[in-house]
């Protein structure tokens, strides 16, 4: 049986590399530099801090932040106060959460690039 192990994601995240944060903030949907691709892969493969997802409120218009429970049959945890009107905005919000989960350092400016 072949399984995919999320714990295998081990690219070391350097909290000092704020230029990657800035690069992502400017272009959450890419294209991205090699280093940022690795950072995103690190975040997405492991789904650090339980996997954040979106729940579609209106197709291609509005999304709500949510989190998978990590176990089949349990409900999706939703955050009705965190609603996004663009995917870029949502990607940035989750990036901020994951950056802190990985580095222990919160990001100061939590606003996405206009």
């Amino acid at each position: 049986m072949l399984v995919n192990d999320p714990e295998a994601a081990h690219w070391p995240v350097d909290p000092a590399r704020l230029e990657l944060v800035e690069e992502f903030r400017r272009a959450p949907r890419g294209p991205h530099s090699d280093a940022l691709q690795k950072l995103l892969h690190r975040m997405r493969w492991s789904g650090v801090g339980k996997r954040h997802v979106l729940v579609v409120l209106e197709p291609n218009r509005r999304w709500m932040l949510a989190r998978l429970p990590g176990k089949r049959g349990l409900p999706v945890e939703t955050f009705p106060n965190r609603v996004f009107t663009s995917l870029a905005e949502a990607e940035w919000a989750v990036f901020v959460l994951r950056w802190e989960a990985l580095t222990g350092v919160p990001l100061q400016d939590e606003k996405p690039s206009p």
Binding site: L2, G30, R51, V53
Partner: protein, 749 residues
């Protein structure tokens, strides 16, 4: 937010002919009624950037209020042998079998039992909550129990047995590891007091892999087992372990042995739902919820990969506590399709609470076929029902940790996905794993399928309806035919059409389906393939059960689970499964292009190649600017080349006469090649460095004036509606279909 799951249902049959009746099986846990409307589906994709949901409403007597009730789903497969006199004898008995448990710690599980759980009467051999073997006799008052001292290991073969010795008043249980070394030895036994007399209860079925909740031949069941059972034996008398094991090792226990009550050989009738008893008692039975057959037994030794060659090595059935083949719901509505109705994608829409914040709008899909011999158009569009079923209730994005990386961005769950996360009783898709980690290899339409209906996930039903929407938009008449019927009727069904269009992702093909298209093309048929990753996996349809398909993923290809060694042949047909490429028929051989990569970062335009200026293909590029990019727009990633893409390759079967018309070969780092494209690994394989990661458009002339046109991209279909349908993708597709419907041969080929 629209509630798409407050009422769910399925249509049976999934595919109906005009004049036939379709029945709707519905259930709601919360609503007592809904407003039903029968619709012909034009576009099923609610994306406001595209055409949006578009339906025709023919008006039927069905339209109106429909009362609803809750109909539960009862997943879990098992084997059932109806009560019979041979099972009535009292006194000592023994039971033994080979076992390969896949979730021994998942909770109490019945392995073999003649037990009614409602009263606690009978006997049962199973696993307790700790994964220890447990043998219980019950008379309804106080059960006698014996439990093995060591838990079983996951995915390790063990011979297990139990005996009731009436003379000694004892219960015995034993287990013998087949590989007793290196920490894998769980061999153990236990003895406990039992009654001096025991009379089994009346009218209770013998059940494999579950416990009956009641009497009768088809009881409700509980405590479903996950794992394999191989060669079960039931005998009179309290036999020692060695004697019981010898009976199980023997492929042909002595039929004349009067103490042999039952000896089941699961290697017989592998393509059926029946199980066979080798003993003189003929205690044959049947399987519920389609557990996996053609599974390697404890005696499988690697000498073969194919169960048809040595069925005696395939005496195991793999039962799953979450198997679901048939919801078994009662009918709520029935409708006879008027004889003059058009074929098409149809659906029953169910609405409730229209004025609330959470209005209900749910759909139950079905298809009306153009029956063989009754073509009404020269053009047929194929409803990829095999692919729709392969993806039915996909939980890939919920369960598979690679999904977010693969899809290159946050996962956006629909209301259906949120429901599926909590309601696994719907049964998952062939992309998913069972709760025990093994792959789902079967899928059936006799259950609600959330992603094969309007508002469902865009892959693949929704994407395909963009082609229907475009055909309607340009006023092109067409028939709908289905994979089911192509498998059943073959080339003669296709032969009625001048041109046959396959959709955005016709990925799953049986041999009969592939043969039908091959013969159609060779006989002058014109095939337009408007998709990507088509003709990829080899499947089988069940020989007798409609709308049930099977795939064995094997160890090659872009597989979301890997089949176990020796288990990669189809139980439904006996054929090898896996990739068509590994079966000697790469997609390039049929349609000129074949799957090479995924690209989910964004989609791309094609650039025209020299082939586009081929004088013989002037009709194809009429009105198109060959110096401009082709398809730098679209609803899926902003381009027509994307998601899953196919390339031309002469070594894989693209024909010498093929004309390579266009390519999108600059897919950047998001272009990730499929596994079978790599001989060895190196770091330069992605699309930013590898021109073999690409989408190609190709035209191939075939015999007798036939031809094939392929676009090699799933995203293509969702670019057709761009700029109010006035765009290069729509123009090229229209040019091809118009010319393909013209019976004149192609000059110059």
């Amino acid at each position: 937010m629209t509630d798409t799951t407050a009422v769910l249902g399925y249509a049976w049959p999934l595919v109906v002919s005009p004049g036939e009746a379709v029945r709707f099986h519905l259930s709601s846990a919360t609503l007592d009624s809904a407003e039903a409307t029968l619709l012909r589906v034009r576009c099923a994709d609610p994306d406001p950037d595209g055409p949006g949901l578009r339906f025709d409403t023919p008006g039927t007597p069905l339209d109106g209020r429909v009362p609803l009730r809750h109909q539960p789903l009862r997943p879990g497969s098992c084997g059932l042998v109806a009560d019979a006199p041979a099972l009535w004898r009292g006194g000592s008995f023994s039971v033994g079998l080979f076992l390969w448990p896949t979730a021994p710690q998942a909770g109490p599980q019945g392995i073999v039992a003649r037990w009614r759980d409602d009263t606690g009467q009978g006997w049962r051999l199973g696993l307790d909550a700790e994964g220890c073997l447990e043998f219980i006799l019950g008379d309804g008052a106080s059960p006698w129990r014996v439990t093995a001292p060591r838990p079983l290991l996951e995915r390790e073969w063990v011979f297990i047995g139990a005996a009731y010795d009436a003379d000694k008043g004892e219960l015995r249980v034993f287990q013998e590891s087949l590989d007793p070394q290196s920490g894998r030895n769980t061999t153990a036994g236990a003895v406990a007091p039992g009654p001096r007399a025991f009379v089994p209860p009346a009218d209770v079925a013998l059940v494999f892999a579950a416990l009956a909740l009641e009497t009768g031949a088809a009881p409700l069941t509980t405590a479903h087992y996950d794992g394999k059972i191989d060669r079960p034996r039931l005998c009179a008398g309290a036999l020692p372990l060695s004697r019981l094991r010898a009976l199980a090792e023997s492929l042909a226990p002595s039929v004349g042995d009067p103490d042999l009550i039952g000896a089941w050989d699961f290697s017989r009738g592998i393509s059926t739902e029946l199980i066979h008893d080798l003993s003189a008692n003929r205690l044959d039975g049947w399987l519920r919820q389609n557990p996996a057959r053609a599974m390697t037994g404890a005696n499988w030794d690697g000498s073969t990969q194919q169960w048809t060659e040595t069925p005696h090595l395939y005496g195991a059935i793999h039962f799953h506590s979450d198997d679901l083949h048939d919801a078994g719901w009662d009918v709520d509505l029935e409708f006879r399709i008027p004889a003059d109705w058009r074929s098409g994608f149809y659906a029953l829409r169910l609405r409730a609470r229209p004025d609330s914040d959470d209005p209900v709008e749910s759909f139950v899909a079905f298809f009306i076929r153009a029956p063989m011999g009754q073509a009404r158009s020269k053009l047929a569009f194929v409803a990829s029902t095999a692919t729709f079923l392969a993806y039915a209730n996909s939980a890939l994005r919920l369960d598979q940790v690679h999904a977010e990386s693969m899809l290159e961005g946050l996962i956006a769950l629909s209301r259906d996905d949120v429901y599926l996360q909590e309601h696994r009783e719907l049964g998952l898709s062939t992309y998913d794993t069972h709760s025990d980690g093994s792959g789902w290899c079967y899928s059936s339409a006799k259950r609600p399928v959330l992603n094969m209906r309007p508002r469902g996930a865009s892959f693949n039903y929704g994407n395909d309806t963009h082609i229907i929407d475009w055909l309607e938009q340009i006023g092109q008449d067409h028939d709908i035919i289905t994979d089911d019927d192509i498998d059943r009727h073959g080339a003669q069904l296709l032969g009625a059409y001048r041109c046959v269009v396959t959709g955005s992702h016709p990925e799953y093909f049986s041999r009969a389906m592939l043969d039908a298209f091959d013969a159609y093309q060779r006989n002058g048929g014109r095939h337009v393939y408007l998709g990507g990753n088509g003709f990829y996996w080899r499947i089988a349809w069940h020989p007798t059960m409609p709308h049930a398909m099977e795939i064995r993923r094997g160890m090659l290809g872009l597989r979301t689970w890997e089949g176990e060694a020796g288990e990669n042949s189809l139980s439904y047909s006996g054929e090898p499964s896996g990739l068509w490429r590994a079966n000697g028929r790469p997609p390039q051989r049929l349609v000129g292009v074949g799957f090479d990569a995924q690209v989910f970062t964004r989609s791309y335009p094609y650039r025209w190649l020299e082939g586009a200026r081929d004088k013989r293909l002037g009709w194809m590029v009429e009105g198109l600017d060959l110096d401009a990019p082709l398809g730098d727009f679209g609803l899926r990633g902003g381009g027509a080349a994307g998601l899953e893409v196919d390339r031309v390759d002469a070594t894989l079967g693209s024909a010498p006469d093929m004309v390579w018309v266009a390519t999108a070969d600059r897919l950047d780092y998001g272009g990730v090649p499929t596994l079978e494209e790599l001989r060895t690994l190196h770091r330069g394989a992605m699309g930013d460095q590898n021109a073999r990661v690409r989408a190609d458009i190709a035209f191939t002339p075939t015999a007798r004036g036939g031809a094939v046109f392929s676009t090699g991209s799933i995203a293509w279909a969702c670019a057709l509606s761009h700029n109010d349908y006035d765009n290069s993708v729509a123009r090229l597709t229209g040019n091809v279909i118009r010319r393909f419907l013209d019976e004149r041969p192609f000059d110059g080929f």
